[in-house]
């Protein structure tokens, strides 16, 4: 919700603190202010109103109440014209189907002029809040909603009359029939589902609009409008929510209705609008008013045990202080021993249980007062079950397998999502092998950089089949183009299984759920749910180590070069490697020794070293030419060393 500091100021005699100060106080005691932005001479606060405060604080006046509390300022009453509570059902008939609305106020006004421009203050205020100025009547209804939180709707009274046989406005709140259509204010046609909440004329049943969401085009005010009927209603929140969902029209009005606004607010909204209309159109006349208030909500009491407040918060707050805070919130409080009988104000329908009041007392007295207090010690040792399962990971990493964690969403599977995020992965994985295979292939491309001859991976994760959800282990190995050692993949898996068998006395083979063998790749998957992980003798790798930090790796491709060099007897690999590093740029990322042998050449013993070099830049894709120049320089440097000879 965007909140204008200038509008807030109109509710206070004293100058408000600056916008950032207000933001800080609200964030620590009411709700988070996500940002403050200067717009012209105004500051706009972006306040994050969550569902618990949507009933009262999707409005400037509601936020002003909070500002008054947290900045300790006196709040002025909203300037409303008090209407005589009439019920003129003769000239403004209103009928309401059971449970569709709790209150419906209609006021008909004449002697208006919608051809003029909205006053500058109104246009500025709307602009600052990101709203468009349309016409004075529409602007006023929008402004009233932004200030009070009550959505209003203005109908062109003459158009209403034309829809009625008796030539008078009439309203009926009820439901749509299947496939009825409505054309909304914006000229869009909507085909309706059953149970969409509608306002119609009675008894003709002409559709006037989507109740609580958007008005219809047929009775929209335009620049020729001279007479209007102003509506302020309290619709059933659930029905508005369902209607907004089925029509896929979500408006500022529907959001407020969905969150539940109190019926009392309808009167506030109308009365505030009448003041603004009188200011703009001094000669306007109220022709008729009908306030159809079906169900006056009974004032209810919350019993709050004053001691419960301290018991939950862990700080002691005196009962008198609790009473003071609750009264500041607008509650009426009656003390009965240690119990407080609290009647919340009408504008706080979110206060329903004693814990709601505990929260109010806690936040207003300040959570910073809470001193950390340790839980009573309850010695517990790490569960054997957790440790044994973790041990499996230790065994696998010890054998050179690295752990990956991959996404649950795949291209195919047994269980499909109703509303997938990506159209190409609408299924939940039925196995882990797809993720392992993707990662084996991906990492093989970086074999030299990773200094791996074989990529070895495992994942432990949940899969979903027609039958059930289960936890699996998948292992995979992939020979890379960097492989110089020849091994049997099958044999390696056999040894791995054997090791796990010895540890857990459980044969993985019996739990095999899948296996794939391809060129140079082997993968197997096991169901872990059914494995008995009991083992007598084990210790888990120490987890008390400090954590390392991430270093960004290059996203550019790398270039490989091999170099072999004869050196005099006694030369160490380290010496040769340091020559290599000293003569090449910092684009040299990896130096791997892959061959060493000795030979007598012309009577003296020589040692040959062969290194594989990986070049990679953080800034760009390296070219072969760039590396060739570096390699020539290295070869030259080697030739200059006595007894060295590039092979």
């Amino acid at each position: 919700m965007l909140i204008s500091r200038n509008i807030l100021q109109t509710f206070f005699d004293k100058p408000l603190p600056d916008a950032r100060e207000i933001a800080r106080e609200l964030t620590m005691k009411s709700f988070e202010v996500e940002g403050v932005e200067k717009v012209g001479s105004d500051y706009i606060l972006n306040v994050d109103i969550l569902p618990n405060r949507a009933s009262d604080c999707l409005s400037h006046y509601g936020v002003a109440r909070e500002v008054a509390l947290v900045c300790a300022l006196d709040l002025k009453e909203l300037n409303t014209s008090s209407l005589v509570a009439e019920k003129d059902s003769e000239s403004l008939p209103i009928t309401i189907e059971p449970d569709t609305a709790y209150r419906f106020i209609a006021v008909s006004l004449s002697e208006l002029d919608n051809t003029i421009e909205s006053p500058e203050w109104l246009k500025t205020a709307l602009r600052a809040l990101g709203e468009r100025s349309v016409s004075p009547i529409v602007d006023i209804t929008n402004y009233v909603m932004l200030v009070t939180g009550q959505p209003l709707h203005a109908y062109d009274a003459d158009k209403l009359k034309r829809l009625s046989k008796e030539a008078k406005p009439s309203f009926h709140v009820g439901f749509a029939e299947l496939d009825e259509t409505v054309r909304t204010l914006d000229g869009q046609d909507h085909i309706l589902e059953e149970a969409t909440l509608l306002i119609r004329t009675a008894p003709e049943g002409e559709i006037l609009g989507l109740a609580g969401i958007k008005g219809g085009e047929a009775t929209a005010v335009d620049e020729r409008t001279k007479r209007i009927v102003l509506e302020a209603a309290t619709f059933n929140r659930t029905l508005v929510r369902k209607s907004a969902q089925s029509t896929k029209i979500h408006t500022s009005a529907s959001k407020r209705f969905e969150n539940g606004i109190p019926p009392e607010l309808a009167r506030v909204g109308i009365e505030y609008a009448l003041v603004l209309l009188k200011d703009l159109f001094p000669s306007n006349v109220i022709e008729a008013l009908n306030d159809n208030y079906l169900e006056k909500s009974d004032a209810f009491l919350i019993e709050l045990d004053a001691e419960h407040v301290s018991r939950l918060l862990g700080i002691s707050i005196e009962k008198t202080e609790q009473v003071t805070l609750l009264e500041k919130l607008g509650c009426e409080v009656e003390e009965k021993g240690s119990v407080l009988n609290v009647a919340p104000p009408w504008y706080r329908p979110d206060l329903k249980r004693d814990v709601d009041l505990v929260e109010e007392i806690g936040r207003l007295s300040g959570y910073s007062a809470i001193q950390a207090e340790s839980l009573t010690s309850l010695p517990l040792s790490l569960s054997e079950e957790v440790k044994r399962k973790e041990l499996l990971r230790d065994v696998l990493t010890e054998k050179g397998y690295s752990e990956i964690i991959t996404r649950s969403f795949r291209e195919d599977g047994d269980v499909e999502l109703e509303n997938p995020l990506a159209k190409n992965t609408p299924f939940l994985r039925t196995n882990l092998l797809g993720g392992i295979e993707d990662a084996l292939k991906f990492n093989s491309q970086h074999a030299e950089l990773l200094e791996l001859e074989y990529v070895r991976l495992f994942e432990i994760g949940t899969v979903f089949t027609h039958e059930k959800e289960s936890v699996r282990l998948a292992i995979g190995i992939q020979k890379t183009k960097n492989a110089r050692t020849k091994i049997s993949l099958q044999k390696e898996f056999e040894e791995l299984r054997q090791e796990i068998h010895e540890l857990y006395q459980a044969s993985l083979k019996n739990h095999l759920s899948g296996s794939v063998e391809k060129d140079g790749m082997l993968m197997e998957e096991y169901t872990l749910d059914t494995i008995d992980f009991s083992t007598k003798d084990f210790s888990l790798a120490d987890s008390s180590d400090s954590f390392g930090t991430f270093k960004q790796f290059s996203v550019y491709p790398y270039i490989l070069r091999d170099i072999a060099v004869w050196t005099p007897e006694g030369t160490t690999a380290e010496t040769v490697e340091s020559h290599i590093r000293n003569n090449l740029s910092n684009e040299l990322q990896v130096v791997t020794l892959f061959d060493r042998f000795e030979k007598e050449i012309e009577g003296s013993k020589k040692v040959s070293y062969a290194f594989r070099l990986v070049f990679q830049s953080f800034e760009k894709t390296l070219s072969d030419e760039e590396i060739n120049i570096q390699m020539s320089a290295l070869e030259k440097a080697f030739s200059a060393i006595s007894g060295y000879e590039v092979r």
């Binding site: 806690g362 839980l375 964690i405």
Partner: protein
């Protein structure tokens, strides 16, 4: 000379972090509990005081399972709280680590699937002050330095009072730096006192028992601990990333 077998495999950083978290909370008397990733609407929402057709449902964009009405991918690990309380009598202390799903667009700090750490302590005298101490101990052991925690008012349907938990910036110790956007604080998690309606839904007498609960994205902690700038690395299967830890 390097041989291929000399390469030791690496644990995923989320596993290393989880192990440390489990160790820290075990010392504080919390046991590890778990539950299914595919949940019923009842356990994921209704029993957690998130009624049908209420805007609080919109706070967590949900994946629904096709042809299985009322079945969802859990949007949080909180259903485990309810399942555990249904089967265990208080006093109890648990943590849950597990995968959760939200139907949200992905970017450097959002994934449609991520891991959550959830904590729950229920007894006759558990307070918000206990929550503060528990979290301060947790952060201190994790970051190996003293770290203050502050509460701000917030809303989560399953707790009341509900708070947002900020931790003092571990990088600048609250002085203000680029990591904490000069505020000295980093928003870490949601928490609060378990809503009596949640206790009641799980068959716990809310007049006798009370407790705290907290929930935090595991990746969010990992990004802070390991100084990882992009959440998507965790699920990349990229050894250039995993081999660093």
């Amino acid at each position: 000379m390097q041989t291929d077998h000399a390469n030791e495999g690496h644990l995923h950083p989320l596993t290393s972090l989880s192990r440390k978290i489990v160790t820290i909370f075990t010392d504080l008397g919390f046991e590890v509990a778990s539950g299914p990733e595919m949940e019923t609407e009842e356990y994921n929402f209704d029993k957690l005081n998130v009624p049908k057709d209420h805007p609080s449902r919109d706070m967590q964009d949900t994946f629904w399972i096709k042809d299985k009405p009322g079945i969802v991918l859990r949007t949080h690990t909180s259903p485990v709280q309810v399942r555990f309380m249904e089967n265990h009598k208080p006093p109890l202390r648990i943590i849950t680590l597990g995968r959760v799903f939200r139907n949200e667009a992905t970017d450097a700090t959002h994934e449609a699937q991520f891991s959550q750490l959830e904590g729950l302590a229920v007894g006759t005298d558990i307070t918000l002050a206990n929550l503060k101490a528990t979290l301060e101990t947790f952060f201190a052991k994790l970051f190996e330095k003293e770290i203050n925690v502050r509460f701000r008012p917030s809303f989560f349907p399953f707790v009341e009072p509900g708070v947002e938990v900020d931790m003092e910036c571990f990088s600048c110790s609250g002085k203000g730096c680029s990591l904490c956007k000069q505020t000295g604080w980093i928003e870490m998690m949601g928490a609060g006192m378990v809503h009596p309606a949640v206790l009641e839904a799980a068959g716990v007498d809310s007049k006798t028992y009370q407790g705290f609960a907290f929930g935090v994205g595991l990746e969010r902690i990992a990004m802070a601990v390991f100084q990882i700038p992009d959440l998507r690395y965790f699920y990349s299967g990229d050894l250039r990333f995993i081999h660093q830890f």
